[in-house]
C-alpha cells in the first residue's frame, strides 16, 4: 500500500476556475467514452443474453419450436407479456411445431455457496414432473460446487422429478427434498458428494419455486395451451 501513498508536497496554488475546468473536461471525456461504449455494446450484450436463454430453454425442451412469455397478475392469472417486458417474474411456455404445449420453463435463484445461483427448470404438465434443469449463472467453486452444472448423476435427478399436485390442486403432494445418497422416491434430489451446500441450494430453490408456481401453472393450464394457437 505504501507505494500508492501520496507524497506530501505543497501543491502550486491554482485558481478555482482552473480546478473546475480540469475536472469538467476529464469528466466530459469519461462521460463520452462510457456512453459510447454502452451504446455500442448494449445491443450485442442483449443479443448474447437472448441467445443464451433461448439455447438453455432449447436444452430443457428440445422439441420447442417457439415460446411465449407469461407473468402472473395479482389474481394469480397468467397474462401474456412481451419478451423483454420489465416484470418481476417470467414464465416461458414452450410449444412444438404443432402448436401443442411441450412444457413450461421457470426461473429460480437463490444464495449458493459463493454467490447467487440462477437456474431454469422445465415442467412437463402431462407427466406432472420436472424434466430438466440448467444452471444459468453461478460462481460456485470449480471442480466442487460447479458440479451442479455438469455432474451427470446430479443432473439425472431432474430428468424426472415428481411434482404431482394433491387432490385439491393447490399444493404439491410431496415437497421436493434433498437426500444424501441414492434417491428412494422420485420427488427427492440426491446430493453431490463433496458439494452438499451447492446441491442443497439448488434443491431449496426448486422446492420453493415449485411449491408456488406448479399449482399456479396447473390452474392456468388451459390458458397456456390455448395461447399456443394464437
Amino acid at each position: 500500500m505504501s507505494e500508492t501513498g501520496i507524497p506530501i508536497q505543497a501543491p502550486p496554488s491554482v485558481g478555482g476556475s482552473r480546478l473546475m475546468l480540469a475536472m469538467g473536461s476529464v469528466g466530459f471525456i469519461a462521460g463520452i467514452l462510457i456512453v459510447f461504449t454502452f451504446q455500442f455494446t448494449q445491443p450485442i450484450i442483449k443479443a448474447n443474453e437472448k441467445a443464451f436463454l433461448e439455447q438453455s430453454i432449447f436444452e430443457v425442451f428440445p422439441q420447442t419450436a417457439y415460446k411465449k412469455v407469461f407473468t402472473p397478475d395479482e389474481n394469480g392469472v397468467l397474462q401474456p407479456v412481451a419478451e423483454d417486458a420489465e416484470v418481476p417474474y417470467k414464465i416461458y411456455a414452450c410449444y412444438d411445431a404443432h402448436h401443442a404445449l411441450t412444457g413450461v420453463v421457470l426461473g429460480a435463484s437463490g444464495q449458493g455457496f459463493q454467490d447467487v445461483i440462477h437456474l431454469i427448470y422445465g415442467y412437463d404438465p402431462r407427466q406432472q414432473a420436472i424434466v430438466g434443469m440448467k444452471v444459468l449463472q453461478s460462481t460456485e467453486t470449480p471442480g466442487l460446487g460447479d458440479k451442479i452444472n455438469n455432474d451427470p448423476k446430479f443432473l439425472s435427478n431432474f430428468k424426472h422429478l415428481d411434482v404431482r399436485l394433491n387432490s385439491a390442486g393447490d399444493a404439491l403432494r410431496a415437497p421436493v427434498t434433498l437426500i444424501k445418497g441414492a434417491r428412494q422416491n422420485n420427488h427427492q434430489i440426491s446430493a453431490i458428494t463433496g458439494a452438499t451446500i451447492s446441491s442443497r441450494a439448488v434443491a431449496r430453490m426448486i422446492a420453493q419455486s415449485a411449491a408456488i408456481n406448479i399449482p399456479l401453472i396447473y390452474k392456468n393450464l388451459k390458458r397456456l395451451e390455448e395461447a399456443g394457437n394464437e
Binding site: M1, T4, V35, S109, Q114, D115, R200
Partner: protein, 195 residues
C-alpha cells in the same frame, strides 16, 4: 426472488463467506495492518463504519440510477461516493473526537482503495438486496473484516516469538497462516445451510 433471512445474510458475510478469507476482499490492509491487535481492531472498526455508510449510499444511488435509467454510471458514482464518504467520516471524526482521529490516523484515507468497500456495494447491487438486507450485509461484512483482521493480528503477535525460516519471513508466512485460517473458516459452511 431473494428470499433470505437477515441473520443469514449477516452470518454469511461475517463467517461462512468471510469477506477477507473467502471472497478475497480487502487483502491489502489484511496483510498490511495485521501486525498488532490494537491497530487491527481500530482499522476493523473504521472499515466497518465506512462500510455501513457506503452500503446505505450505494443503495440510494442505485435507486436513483435505476430511476434515471443510467446504470452505466454505477461504477463511477460508487467510487466517487465512497471517496467522499471516507472524506466526510474523516472530517466528522476530526471535529467531534480528535482522540479517535489521532488513533485511526493514516488508516482513514487508505480505506478508499480498499476493495472490500466497493466490493460490498457491488455485491449488494448484484444480489438485488433491499434496504434492510443491505444493512445486515454491511454489518456482517464489517464484522467479518474485523474478525479476520484481529484473529490474524493475534497469530502474528505470537509468530514474532517463534523462529520462522528466513525465506518465509514477511508476506510468505502471513499468506500461509491466512491459508490455514481460510480452511478453518470453511468449517462454518454448515452454519445456516438449512436456512
Amino acid at each position: 426472488m431473494v428470499t433470505e433471512q437477515y441473520w443469514f445474510i449477516f452470518l454469511n458475510a461475517a463467517l461462512i463467506n468471510n469477506f477477507v478469507l473467502s471472497s478475497f476482499l480487502g487483502i491489502c490492509p489484511f496483510l498490511g495492518v495485521s501486525g498488532k491487535i490494537s491497530t487491527a481492531s481500530r482499522m476493523g472498526a473504521a472499515v466497518a463504519f465506512v462500510m455501513l455508510i457506503a452500503s446505505l449510499s450505494a443503495y440510494a444511488i442505485h435507486q436513483a440510477l435505476v430511476a434515471l435509467n443510467a446504470e452505466y454510471l454505477q461504477l463511477i458514482s460508487y467510487i466517487v461516493v465512497i471517496a467522499s464518504a471516507v472524506q466526510l467520516v474523516e472530517m466528522v471524526i476530526k471535529k467531534f473526537s480528535p482522540a479517535l482521529f489521532r488513533a485511526l490516523g493514516i488508516f482513514l484515507p487508505l480505506i478508499t482503495t480498499n476493495c472490500a468497500i466497493l466490493g460490498l456495494a457491488l455485491f449488494q447491487t448484484n444480489r438485488h438486496y433491499d434496504f434492510f438486507q443491505s444493512l445486515s450485509f454491511a454489518l456482517g461484512a464489517g464484522a467479518g473484516f474485523t474478525i479476520a483482521l484481529v484473529v490474524m493480528a493475534g497469530i502474528r503477535e505470537e509468530l514474532q516469538l517463534s523462529s520462522v525460516p528466513d525465506v518465509l519471513k514477511g508476506a510468505g508466512i502471513t499468506l500461509m497462516v491466512a491459508g490455514i485460517l481460510s480452511m478453518a473458516f470453511m468449517g462454518f459452511a454448515g452454519l445456516g445451510g438449512n436456512g
